[in-house]
Symmetry: C2
Subunit: 343 residues, 2 copies
DNA sequence: GAAAATTCGGAAACCGATTGCCTCGGAGGC
DNA sequence: GCCTCCGAGGCAATCGGTTTCCGAATTTTC
């Protein structure tokens, strides 16, 4: 009823074309030596039956599945999406499919998924997650190559592709210096969060390089707008003057921007603000739009997938692969020349 | 080097346990009649070798892949994630894996993925997308069941799971009425966007039911904060008085809220604001936190997966399945009793 | 103690595609 | 006219499991 019968097999094709199964296979794959007429006859039969080779059967003889697993160690989230898109993009070009597994931060689930993927004989595995902190390897002595994307493994021999967050932070500071700011404060996420620490210390080092101190100690808090707003209160109360705030995330930066405006400080005229992540929703919704550091997660995903593909082809690239961040300048740090930001 | 040898096969297990492959298979799957001792011996051997049955081989004889494909018709995005999580959740419990395919709004890509999935003999397919507008069926007479999630198919016989957006809009209006608002304006997304139209007309109908007119015509624009802000300018300029705004999305609602505050109107005292989507980042970042309609996308994904599972088991549930929305009340519509919203 | 019933486990077919090897027939060389 | 060579395509093994059928060994039954 509406459903077609079971999918056609190569035997059906062979029978319809009046050849043997082996010959049909050769005709469809361009192997062996066959008359052109025979080849076409088989192809026509396959077309007519809507034949699609059974991937499982193919796998069984070739040993390849043309499949990779992607395990997110913590829940699939905002960071995973661009990664996923990049991975999909690079793998799709190689005609490979992706198994998506959501580890939910649960090591048991993670190991269960790993087993499942190995049982499905994936050609390779990509491990990713929300936290950039190095994590224990997902397994050792695995029969397939593994690439860590965005996250890295504590085993330095494992192949990982990560963003140069420290470099991104330095670019942010350089930009603020370039637009003439000297009293730069820093507001960021939790002190135990790897990215917060990395970005923060890189920023401070870069300031020191320019012979400057940050305007007050870095303020650690949460990755939220509410914290950004509270932090502004603290800055205004305790710190001396400041003409810029470098924030550990766009959410924090947005909270900071809103609170500054509420306190009567103009952005960017009085205080310039830089965020991190270049999350479109935050960055464009903000008034004015936020200058931010972009980790190019999609490119990172693509790179990870490409490394995995070459590893599958027998050329592993062990160790960390660090990719640069990019600073996207918007109106929270520069006054536009000939246009006033519209509401 | 570091890589273990090829994965163990059932022959390896059988050899180690000193039985035939058939017996080993029975022992591992609890079939046939075997002595407990034999069973244990085989299981121990499997354990020792880290044996994981080759899924392709298993597929070949059983015909089942324990695999489903998930095709997003447009790019994987914010709406897809909760859906994906729900789907993953429900399928994971059934020990099925998910192939993720990103259609990118490109029918050619979509058909390519469909072919790939069919070639992989997935047990079923879930189709989803960013737009709730009914879309042409992804294929007809397919050999596997298909469930549309969030999106629906133009063929009313196709199984789809969608959110009752109209009902959600009615709940929003009812709530505003319940907190005493009578002059309710409506600001939403593009007029050609299905959700915008559905939510808007349901809201107007519900107002009519209460004998009310909306405060001015619905304002169609974009799904952005900037539009929400601009719309407030229009409301203040042209509309008469209004004491509430129902917005077509949280982004719009947030823009509206910000602009209202900037114009000196207090939220919720002077104007109550309701959003749609219950997107945590928007809803919690907003000042004050937004009351919003939640479509329960995760539950929707779970429901879609469950329907797919039962369809795979031979009990299809054709037609649309509409699931209720839920109103989440926050401070943008109600003044908290004993606490003042903190900045 | 022999026939029947039961238990246990092996042999082999099968799933669907790939591939190496072999055969058959026609063409060409001497 | 016979032999060789080559092109075309069939046969069958193979991949790794599952499952059916059957035989051997043991136990039960009278």
């Amino acid at each position: 009823m509406g459903k077609s019968a079971r999918p056609a097999t190569i035997s059906d094709v062979a029978a319809l074309a009046g050849v043997s199964v082996g010959t049909a296979s050769k005709a469809l794959n361009g192997r062996g030596s066959l008359r052109a007429e025979t080849r076409q006859r088989v192809q026509a039969a396959a077309e007519q039956l809507g034949f699609q080779a059974n991937a499982a059967a193919r796998t069984l003889s070739s040993g390849r599945t043309y499949t990779v697993g992607m395990i997110t160690t913590d829940t699939i989230g905002r960071f995973s999406i661009p990664l996923l898109i990049g991975v999909e993009d690079a793998l799709g070009a190689g005609r490979m499919s992706v198994f998506l597994c959501d580890g939910r931060d649960d090591p048991i689930r993670e190991q269960y998924y790993l087993k499942t993927l190995l049982s499905r004989r994936v050609d390779g595995i990509i491990v990713t997650g929300r936290h950039a902190r190095p994590r224990p390897p997902i397994g050792s002595g695995l029969p397939v190559p593994v690439v860590y994307a965005f996250v890295s493994s504590t085993d330095p021999e494992d192949c990982s592709v990560v963003a140069d967050e420290a470099g991104g932070a330095r670019k942010a500071i350089d930009h603020l210096l370039a637009v003439g700011r000297r009293r730069i404060a820093h507001v960021t996420g939790p002190e135990h969060h790897h990215s917060a620490v990395v970005r923060s210390s890189a920023a401070i080092e870069q300031l020191a390089e320019a012979g400057l101190q940050p305007a007050g100690p870095p303020l650690f808090g949460e990755w939220s707008e509410a914290w950004g707003r509270r932090a502004v209160g603290m800055l205004l109360a305790t710190a001396g003057e400041f003409d810029a705030v470098f924030c550990g995330s766009d959410q924090v930066a947005r909270g900071v921007t809103d609170a500054l405006r509420a306190a009567g400080r103009r952005v960017p005229e009085d205080v310039a603000v830089v965020g991190f992540d270049n999350w479109d929703v935050m960055v464009l919704g903000c008034q004015p739009p936020l200058t931010s550091v972009d980790m190019n997660l999609e490119g990172l995903g693509r790179a990870a997938a490409d490394l995995l593909l070459t590893a599958i082809n027998g050329e592993p690239s062990p160790g960390p692969h660090v990719r640069p961040c990019r600073l996207v300048v918007r109106e929270s740090t520069t006054v536009p020349v000939d246009s006033q930001p519209a509401g």
